[in-house]
Amino acid sequence: MKEGFTYPPSFFLFLMNMKKQKTAAGIDVGSRTIKLVVYDGKQIVHEKIVDNSYNTSELIKQLLDEVRYDALVAAGYGRALVEIGWNSPSVSEITAFAIGCSQEFPGEKTVLDIGGQDTKVIRVNDQGKVLKFEMNDRCAAGTGKFFEVMAKTLNLTLDDFADLFEPKKKTLKINSLCTVFAESEVISLLAKGESRENIVYALHKSVINKIIPLIKKVHTTGDIVFCGGCAKNHLLHALFEEEMNQTILIPRSPQLVGAYGASVIAMNSLLKKQSQDMK
């Protein structure tokens, strides 16, 4: 550098900004868990899942305070809290899942998301756009919450619950899908001396029977991707494959798909804004 010449401080600031990669955060505030993903336009640079509780706003704040981001988009049942508290846009979890899933699985596909309290089946085109979707009715039948209550009734953790799948008979039927009624059905089966293995299998079958018609309404051909917390349940996964007679794909982190999708949307709006600013 020549003597006597100094760059103005703003130049260094400009250089620093050039170097600093812009990042976008997506937060999926679900009924059972809150998921955060920070995305730099190429890959996920941060991810975290915490249990949701009574103090949702506080939990969101803790998650967001830990990270740096230039744009934020919220999805999930608690998205309105983020919209108001952080003045950021929101997107439905259906759109978020469609986009998040398309990051890992390009091409037209059907996305099945079984979360804490609802089930969604989404038909997505190769651009990540939603073509059609179906969602379960208002109650928690056949969702994560259903499995949680049933595991507790059988004195099992959710992980053990899914691993326990060597039933002696596969003909046992649980007729109720209502979480409350199914619980009493399970209790009376236990009282009759049914084994936990048989009951666990029957519970999974009853959920499958509820969800298959929903999938068939939306799915045509091609891949089916299973997301949401329930995708961690091996028995459910195996039964879906058996029923649909095809391989069902599971993303690397099935629970994070919605937050990932939201972060991609945030990044896209950031890039759009940048290119508008350049003009």
Binding site: S92, I94, D118, V130, M135, R138
Partner: protein, 425 residues
Amino acid sequence: MSQDWAPMWKELGLDLKAHDELLNVLGKFYNDIFMSQKDRPQGMQYFDFVMSEVHGLRIKELLDAKAQSRKVIATFCLYIPEEIALATNAVQVGLCGGAEMGFNIAEKYLPRNTCSLIKSFFGFSEAKICPYFEASDLVVGENTCDGKKKAYEIFKDLRNLYVMDMPNMKHEKGRELLKSEYIKYLQMMEKLTGKKITVESLKKGIHIANEKRKAIGRVMDLRKHNPTPISGKDALLINQVAFYDDPLRFTDSVNKIADECEKRVKNKIGVVSKETPRILVSGCPMAVPNWKVPHVIETNGAVIVGEESCVGMRNIRNLVSDKGNTVEQLVDNLVDRYFKIDCAIFTPNKDRLDHIVQMAKDLKADGVVHYSLQFCTPYNTESHLVENTLQKAKIPLLKIETDYSMEDMGQLNTRVQAFVEMIKK
């Protein structure tokens, strides 16, 4: 409220405490849902006023009419021709309830899994919170769906009720049945009011009802423009008030709004931006204060441009011809018009399917939201055919099945937001 109506309500026999609760809910709802809207047509102020006086001034008017020995007829359904009431100088008002009030009382008479619309009219009546029931001389029911048919059998012991029979197929025998029921009804109305219906009086009734339909039709037609000059919620309100208000004054006020909307369209002024996704709502009727689904749609970034519903196009579509020299010829004209109403109680009901597609195209809707009340078998079941028809026409559809409660607001918001994101260009 401009005046203390409590003495009037007390005299009518309302349960003042429960009625106050209803008015509080209604007032709060109205403020949140209607007054929060931006760029409403000026003319909507009239409807704000009507709604603020819906249990006050309007009831006073009904009582004044009765004092002049006019009769007040309360109905639930589009198939009861207002022309006949008008021909006897009677006042006809709608009774359908749109709120979850008095359901615990209604469930003393009806199964829990009865649709909200039926439970609501039972509840409003038996909880003594509806001055329209108390101000009416006669309640007129009709054998449309099974829920109503059976409910009327119970209701006839509670109120002065007349039930009209209804065909459920659109063949010649069906038409004959409707005609004979209209003649029976006309004769009953003559007896009740002590007034003979003449060609002249019936033509006058036909004229008043047609003018009302035409006025609403003007506003509804203007919504095909982009940007639309009026919100879906305000348009629904006009359709709802059509069942309560004095027909002449109402027609006049609606024509003023239509004039204003015409100017808006000319100057390209709308209630939303041009990019806003446009939605046609199709399905069950929405009675005051059932604004739940339209509010969800319009707060999720879309605008409603049409209502394929009883509280909407079904009520105003087709006029009654006034050509004829005998009362019977005019009754034939009434039957011609009313027999075309495409309610889901009819089988088959292909006209409705075609009409939904037609409306979606005419109004340039980006998608259709099919709304059916939980436990409403006719509309719920027909929604499958609606889905098939719209799929063929390549029009996106969101099916919603809900009731008057607020417990599914989270799910509804998610579904509607996703649908709006999906149809956005």
